[in-house]
């Protein structure tokens, strides 16, 4: 909760110390031990002043919006709780390194007998922070430089820049973020990026240079994001032996799309949640704001978690999506869906399920994938309470299917196609949680329902990532 200092409500002697006004450091004086013990919970109080120490470039209006609730507290416990919430909101702005709360009785001529002063002692982040890393990957080394300018103009705007210079590819990203003062969940950001990727399962290399603008806002319990994105995509073959189907997709194209995403997340954590549900629905319409790719794409992700006896968690997830090209041009390999891999249907090689040509996987226009998981603590609970808590054992059943749409046949035929020849797998393994961002898995998988052309990875499979089926 940070540091909360509280003193008794007895007014101090008239010649007591002065408490600092805004801009000065508040002094803390020890109270004599014979002060009366008060039962503080039910005492009515009024918060008269809220002070801020340590503001530099931050403007007043955004601060005032975040701490407005503190004035509404009616008793001491509420004051402590509202101050704590205000502290959390101030930290969420991402402009302070530290926020301490000091609750004190009110002094001065207009002090009421039950008046309180709340002081927030804040330390702003520096104007510019930077980071420099080197990374070594598959036959490639790169230098990554990151720059962050938090609270650029005083209202929690943030500019981040990341630049990665590697032996094979370079990429960069620049982003500007601005929240609405008083309403941090409504925010606006503009991004500029160049990203390169190599996809050996399709023998494809992709370079995207793009700009995007997005606006997020909450509606009741859901969070919505509306985005426009313009991307100049360059596709090429990764090797001389790429299949002709992939070779035909080489070249440049321009995608300009509008998309909308809705997220409802009631889980207690995004990695290994114990309870709650997640629903994400995303739709994208390309081609109506320019560009030479035209499609409508819909995809969703659903996850439900329930805690069971003995500290175990049962989790189900369902993913699906459909891509409908508009006009007579066929869909591009860069827009289609892929299935398979340690973060998708386990037991199959990365993105190596479904339509393929000469060993290169081309993706599909419609897919679904589902999983049932049982997470339990490690047997015999080694390292309980410490390191052992980061691990879980994991039993799973995954299934999914991927296909292309052929419009002559109609929706019933597509549903039938997605329901036949289902790929599925089962197995068990160990999951390691990495902070609150990622997880590692080591599983033993048994793939079933393998169709001709799919590449499997039966036996032990290792996976690292953020989003798992």
């Amino acid at each position: 909760m940070g540091t909360v200092h509280a003193r008794s409500l007895e007014p101090l002697p008239a010649n007591g110390p002065d408490f600092g006004a805004l801009g000065e450091e508040a002094e803390f004086v020890e109270v004599e031990p014979e002060a009366k013990q008060e039962i503080l919970e039910n005492k009515d109080v009024v918060v008269q002043h809220v002070h801020f120490d340590g503001l530099g470039r931050t403007k007043d209006d955004i601060i005032i919006c975040e701490i407005g609730d503190v004035f509404k507290a009616k008793n001491l416990i509420e004051v402590m709780r509202k101050s704590h919430e205000a502290r959390e909101k101030l930290l969420r702005l991402g402009i302070f390194r530290q926020v301490d709360v000091l609750i004190d009785t009110c002094q001065g001529d207009d002090a009421l007998p039950n008046g309180l002063d709340v002081t927030f002692e804040v330390t702003e982040l520096r104007r510019l922070t930077g980071s420099y890393n080197t990374m070594v990957g598959n036959n490639e080394g790169s230098m990554v430089l990151g720059l962050k300018l938090p609270n650029l103009l005083g209202r929690a705007e943030k500019v981040t820049f990341q630049f990665s210079y590697g032996t094979k590819e370079t990429s960069y990203g620049l982003s500007f973020f601005k929240p609405q003062p008083g309403n941090f969940e409504r925010n606006f950001s503009v991004n500029l990026y160049k990203v390169t990727g190599q996809f050996p399962w399709s023998s494809l290399r992709e370079t995207d240079r793009g700009v995007s603008a997005e606006y997020s806002f909450p509606i009741w319990k859901t969070s919505h994001t509306v985005k426009w994105e313009g991307v100049w995509r360059e596709l090429g073959c990764l090797s001389r032996t790429a299949s002709f189907a992939v070779r035909k997709e080489s070249g440049h194209s321009l995608k300009s799309s509008l998309s909308h995403a809705m997220v409802i997340d009631s889980r207690n954590s995004s990695i290994l949640p114990r309870r709650g549900a997640l629903l994400k629905v995303n739709q994208e319409l390309a081609g109506y704001t320019g560009g030479d790719v035209s499609f409508i794409k819909e995809d969703f992700e659903l996850q439900l978690n329930k805690q069971l006896v003995f500290d175990s968690v049962f989790s189900t997830s369902l993913w699906g999506g459909v891509l409908v090209p508009i006009g007579d041009k066929p869909s591009s390999i860069a827009d289609r869906f892929y299935l398979g891999g340690p973060t998708s249907v386990r037991g199959f090689s990365m993105h190596s399920v479904g339509p393929q040509s000469e060993g290169d996987y081309l993706g599909g226009e419609a897919y679904w994938a589902g999983g049932l998981h049982l997470y339990t603590p490690l047997p015999f609970r080694p390292g309980q309470g410490g390191f052992g808590e980061l691990f879980r054992t994991h039993f799973f059943l995954n299934a999914g299917n991927l296909c292309n749409l052929n419009y002559g046949e109609g929706p019933k035929a597509h549903i039938r196609k997605l329901a036949e020849c289902i790929r599925w797998s089962y197995g068990a393994g160990i999951v390691l949680r990495l902070g609150n961002i990622a997880r590692l898995e080591l599983n033993y998988c048994v793939p079933m329902g393998v169709q001709k052309g799919d590449r499997t990875c039966d036996g032990v499979q290792f996976g690292a990532g953020i989003r798992f089926l």
Binding site: L235, C237, R240, F244, R247, K248, S250, G251, H252
Partner: protein, 225 residues
């Protein structure tokens, strides 16, 4: 590609006969293809016609990105992709078709020399015209004139450059001269230079009639001034 890889590919190529669905890819006619690329594509088409190998021409906007070397035209035969006239001639030779088998070593060397001449002079002229198009075009035209003179002298009154059988040199010369003669440019001086040599004109017309119009191809034909 390394020598070993090339040798390996040739072995594989030699094993299969020429399929019916062999395709040649070039950029879109009319709005996209450039003078030099058009010449190169025609040269390859003429060469394959002379070898009596069926080929279908497909125009795609991303043809130069599809090509493994970045240059057009390229052919897709079976599951092999080969681009540019030189490698295509090699590839076709590995399959057992060749136009220059009947030539002796001296003639082969001569043929190579003439092909280099065409590439250096005519190709450079085309590139200059399509990119620079300035008033200082005098030198370029001089070169073209010299090249045409050399070709005209070599051709003389024969139907093809070497005896009565066409070779890849004929295909290359046809590709370039035909393109120069039939493409509308802002500057007609280049095609005027070529038209000065009547035996070259006759040569182009002969190949056009024999290999293209006969098979129902050829949208633009040579008009004599």
């Amino acid at each position: 590609m390394s020598l070993v890889a090339e040798a390996f590919v040739s072995q594989i190529a030699a094993a299969e006969p020429w399929p019916e669905n062999a395709t040649l890819y070039q950029q879109l006619k009319g709005e996209q293809i450039l003078l030099s690329d058009n010449a190169a594509s025609l040269a390859v088409q003429a060469f394959l016609q002379m070898c009596n190998l069926p080929i279908k021409v497909v125009c795609r906007a991303n043809a130069e990105y599809m090509s493994p070397s970045g240059k057009v035209p390229f052919i897709h035969v079976g599951n092999q992709v080969v681009s540019e006239l030189g490698p295509i001639v090699q590839f076709v030779k590995a399959k057992g078709h060749s136009l220059s088998d009947g030539l002796d070593e001296v003639q082969k060397a001569e043929m190579k020399a003439y092909m280099e001449l065409v590439n250096n002079m005519l190709l450079t002229a085309e590139l200059y015209l399509q990119w620079c198009d300035e008033a200082t075009v005098g030198e370029v035209l001089e070169d073209v004139d010299q090249c045409c003179q050399a070709l005209s002298q070599r051709l003389g009154t024969q139907p093809y450059f070497f005896n009565k059988q066409p070779t890849e040199l004929d295909a290359l010369v046809f590709g370039h001269l035909y393109t120069i003669l039939t493409t509308q440019l802002t500057n007609d001086e280049l095609s005027e230079k070529v038209k000065n040599y009547s035996n070259l004109l006759a040569f182009c017309r002969r190949i056009e009639q024999h290999y293209f119009e006969d098979r129902g191809k050829g949208s633009s034909s040579i008009r004599s001034s």
